[in-house]
């Protein structure tokens, strides 16, 4: 099987993730879509690593995972505290930081 299919899959996943971030209002879903984009990137990185026969891509993928893990921790905490104060998880409701 040609590795390019993995790239196609990665592109599709990334697109889905992007659309989700842009279109959905629920913070949890937006958050999950970001994770989806990150994992799509990971997939692409690993694939490139495989194609080029080097380890660079895989190393980068690990970095991304670490960042993603940290992001989950911080992000979920923020979402929970926003939900506690505003009784809503919609990203459009949290628009105080403007102008």
């Amino acid at each position: 099987m040609s590795p390019t299919f993995y790239l196609y899959l990665s592109a599709i996943l990334f697109t889905i993730g992007t659309l989700g971030v842009l279109l959905r209002r629920n913070a949890i879903v937006v958050f999950m879509c970001i994770e989806l984009m990150l994992n799509a990137t990971n997939l692409a990185l690993v694939t490139f690593s495989r194609i080029n026969g080097t380890l660079d891509g895989q190393v980068m993928a690990f970095f991304v995972m670490v960042v993603a893990a940290a992001e989950v921790v911080v992000g979920l905490a923020i979402i929970v505290s926003v939900f506690r104060t505003r009784r809503s998880a919609s990203v459009d409701d949290a628009n105080l930081l403007k102008y």
Binding site: T18, V21, L22, L23, R25, V30, V91, D92, A94, N95, L96, L97, K98, Y99
Partner: protein, 645 residues
Amino acid sequence: MTHAALHAAATLTPTMHTTGAFSFTWLLVVIPLTSATVLLLGGRRTNSWGHLLGVAAPVASFVLGLILFAQLIGKPASERSFDNHLFSWTFVGNFKAPANFQIDPLSISFVLLITGVGSLIHVYSVGYMAHDPGRRRFFAYMNLFVSAMLLLVLADNYLALYVGWEGVGLASYLLIGFWYHKPSARTAATKAFVVNRVGDFGLSLAVMLMFATFGSFTFTNVFGAAGSADHATMTAIGLLLLLGACAKSAQVPLQSWLGDAMEGPTPVSALIHAATMVTAGVYLVARSAPIFNVTPTARLAVTVVGAVTLLFGAIIGCAKDDIKKALAASTMSQIGYMMLAVGLGPAGYAFGIAHLLTHGFFKAGLFLGAGSVMHGMNDEVDMRRFGGLGKYMPWTFATFGLGYLAIIGFPGLSGWFTKDAIIEAAYHKGGTSGYLLGSAALVGVVLTAYYMTRVMLMTFFGEKRWAEDAHPHESPEVMKWPMVILAIGSVGLGYLLVLGSRFADFLAPVVGKAEDTAFKPIGLVGILTFVVMLAGIGVAYLQYGRRRVPAVAPVAGPLVVAARHDLLGDAFNESVFMRPGQYLTRLLVFFDYRGIDGFVNGFAAFIGGTSSRFRRVQTGFVRSYALSMFGGAVVLVAALLLVRG
């Protein structure tokens, strides 16, 4: 006489290095300066003895001056110039300004006048200012003046002269505004300083031009090279010096400050605004003889200024009711004579300076007399409120009377010798200009005789027109004796100076000498002068001696009204310089605020406005930010692809 020869005559004298007494020349300046410093810094602690120190300082300088004078005349005429080098004041590249004092016949004449008349006026002031709470301050300023004036005449270069020049300006400013709480006095003081600054503008440009032309501004170097510069430059230097002289000596067109300067105490008017400072312009021209000798154009300008001013001042003098202002106008007119004389070149330098010296005596005496009258009349200055004072103030009357005879040029008194000499020299110049100048001087004699007789009659003769609370009395001894000594000088000095051309010979090493300087009193001109003088006295007598003097100035024609208002000098300055100047500054302040700052603030407002519009992009919606990030990423990728493709 050719220019070259004149020039040689004026610069022949080699400058000797100081020996003996001449190495103490600097003390002349430093003694009064020290005294002024002590009095100013000492404050109230020196109140009790301040006036004594203040009198001692000029007297000490006078004694030193006499010693130096005695030493000087002991030397042969060709060696009468001594330099007292102190230190190098300013030194940059070619620009060398030494702090030097120079004693030569011209400067020693001034030293004796300044310290001699100055000492007498200081003594007089002890009595005159006895009841003034600021007497110590007064003496401090007076000493400062004496010091600066001595520096002016002792300097051996134009920059040091300029220091003294502005120093006397400062002293004059301080003393005119001595009663600073009076709005009129403070305005007069500022006016005097500002007008003098116009002259300083000319003088400083003259120094700059000298430096650019000769690479030096010491008298020796400039005079030595004066003949080798081109005529236009020398004329420019001469005219710039004349501008300086006009301001300091209250000559037309910078005459307007002198009348107002009478706001100062009377001894100030006597010393600064009659005897010494105002004559500095004449000194400047005489001192710069080698420069003026090579430029007939500048000399002509000097004579014209002198002639115009002598008539201008005399006309004003005829209309003034304030005794001090009448005397001030007379000073202006008399200095016009001196200017006229020194403008004539070598034929007139000695006469101009001689008239300056005699005028120093009789005008100082007249002012002190006026002060004495005011002292006895509760500081009244309006002559229409005087009258019949001769009986009550015999000493003042006598001394004032001798001064009066001297100034109108009554035969035998000092003014006669010196003024007639000037008139003759003017006619002697020849040509249309000589005729016009001489005639102007002759008309000046009529006017002088008229206004001085008027002053005399209105003050000392006729019926009493006093205010009710006036109790005229003779002034105390300390004021009387200076007047007496000045009166003696008014009588005898002219004889001493002019007969046998003594003074002309004495000054010759400095200013050069014309062949024919012998004074011929009984010539055609002399007789004519005497006749017109009598005519002036007669007219004044008919007007003020025979008739009652009204207590309020009568309605008069336009010329008299103009003369009462200083021939509209102030009106002219006000409408041509002051008001447009005020409008200009107001316009500029507006321009700075609205124009330059408006542009800056407008630019800031533009940036601020633009940003606040752009700020609206920050909506606070996370998804719109995400969209813009997405858009940005797309653009970036597209750009990358485009560039690579």
